[in-house]
Amino acid sequence: MMPGVGVKPVLRASGLSKRFVLHNQGGVELPVLEGVAFEAFPGECIALDGPSGAGKSTLLKLIYANYRASTGSVHVRHDDGVQAGAEVDMTRASAQTLLAVRRSTIGYVSQFLRTVPRVGSLDVVAEPLLAGTGADPEALRDAHRQAQDLLLRLRIPQRLWHVAPATFSGGEQQRINLARSFVRDWPVLLLDEPTASLDASNSATVVALINEVRKRGTTVIGIFHDAHIREQVATRVLDMGCFQPGPRSR
């Protein structure tokens, strides 16, 4: 799907590279990505394609600024409440700005759910809706309602809604993680193997959810190993082979 004339990208990466330096292992350098450049437009679903070790997860983490870029930039359009559509460079922004972008602009579903002991699933899923609402009971009820809808769609049995997900199976945890991200619309949504441990019917639900948010304008950037899933969601494939670092002297 090519964007129309005049449509601005939501995200653009340019000259982006990542090299890990392991100081306690003789300063060995591990170049992972080099020269990453692409633009992403509203309503696209970009599938990152390449064998394992090609830096797909690393690219998602660079966009989320969980990893710090060695060179280059990732500009994201972020409505900061003052200036709509202002651009933030995720590789240089202050901690405060990054947190603000993560609250309202970029959602990220990692492969693993990091759970907090004792917080129930319903609250875990509702949390992204409650940022900045204080303790408003109306907002809380509303957030719980939306969280319930997603838990139902992702087939989390009601008896687990008030249980902390720490003891859940891998597939259940992944569904909690997904529910938590799909509970609100993000301008940009990053998905790292969202269906890796899901059965066929839950995978189909995730496909439907991705296509729904995409049609509402979300830009999805994801890693989908399952070719069948990828065909159903991707509007474009980004070949990670173009961003492999060249041979180095050390």
């Binding site: 600024a65 969980n66 710090r68 700005t97």
Partner: protein, 259 residues
């Protein structure tokens, strides 16, 4: 959010112990509602820094500015002793590693919580008692223990009482020195969850000194890594833990045993 002024502005804080620099030229800002973890090994200067920033021990050099409710940003060391004491009892809290240091062990739990309210001029016994009972419940303590002294409490209960005692005046900034160490692991998890709920729910800014990276991961938005009195790395918590840059941080992160 970036345009908002910080709640706390620390500039060039330096402390000596004899000839040794325990804290060496440390600067950072803290924003309202932000939880900052200060991590490092024993002797890295993190508790010394906390005490300097919390106006408990005057640093040899540097400034600590706090955004007061009425007078804007004020250097806490330029305040009068009385002003500083009032600040420490109202808008600030300090949670000690050892609850015994933060509590009065021979007066009741209720009186421990009520003390700060009385320091603010509250004299109505019924209101103080109601508010104390309310806070005991918020930190998940049995309100029926309100007349017992902390000497009869377990370590975890004492720590929760200390937190209630600090939060009763709705401070905007709380300093915490290893708040969960010294507790059993199961009690630790419960306390961490409580702290997380309270800091998020009350939009409380906090500086948490800890040697435990898991505590930082769970509580903090941002992290500062200290070694030999200096800050060697700062960043968002997940940046520092998932992609540490400094050799020392890499060593620290890779040394943690993952269960």
């Amino acid at each position: 959010m970036t345009d908002n002024p910080p709640l706390l502005r620390v500039q060039g804080v330096t402390m000596h112990y004899g000839a040794r620099r325990a804290v060496d030229d440390v600067s950072f800002d803290l924003w309202p509602g932000e939880v900052l973890a200060v991590v490092g090994e024993s002797g890295s200067g993190k508790t010394t820094l906390l005490n300097a920033v919390a106006a408990r021990v005057k640093p040899d050099a540097g400034r600590v500015g706090f955004m007061t409710r009425h007078d804007g940003m004020v250097d806490v060391y330029s305040m009068s002793e009385a002003q500083r004491r009032l600040l420490a009892r109202t808008d600030w809290g300090y949670v000690h590693q050892d609850a015994v240091q933060g509590l009065r062990m021979n007066v009741s739990a209720g009186a421990n919580v009520g003390e700060r309210l009385m320091a603010l001029g509250e004299r109505h016994y019924g209101r103080i008692r109601t508010e104390a009972a309310n806070w005991l419940q918020r930190v998940e303590m049995d309100a029926g223990r309100i007349d017992d002294t902390p000497a009869t409490f377990s370590g975890g209960m004492r720590q929760r009482l200390q937190i209630a005692r600090n939060l009763v005046t709705r401070p905007r900034l709380v300093f915490m020195d290893e708040p969960t160490s010294g507790l059993d692991v199961s009690v630790q998890a419960k306390l961490l969850d409580l702290l997380r709920t309270l800091t998020r729910g009350l939009s409380l800014a906090a500086i948490v000194v800890t040697h435990d990276l898991a505590v930082a991961r769970l509580l903090a938005h941002r992290m500062m890594v200290m070694k030999e009195g200096r800050v060697v790395e700062t960043g968002l918590t997940d940046q520092v833990l998932d992609d540490p840059q400094h050799p020392y941080t890499q060593l620290l992160v890779s040394s943690v045993l993952q269960p």
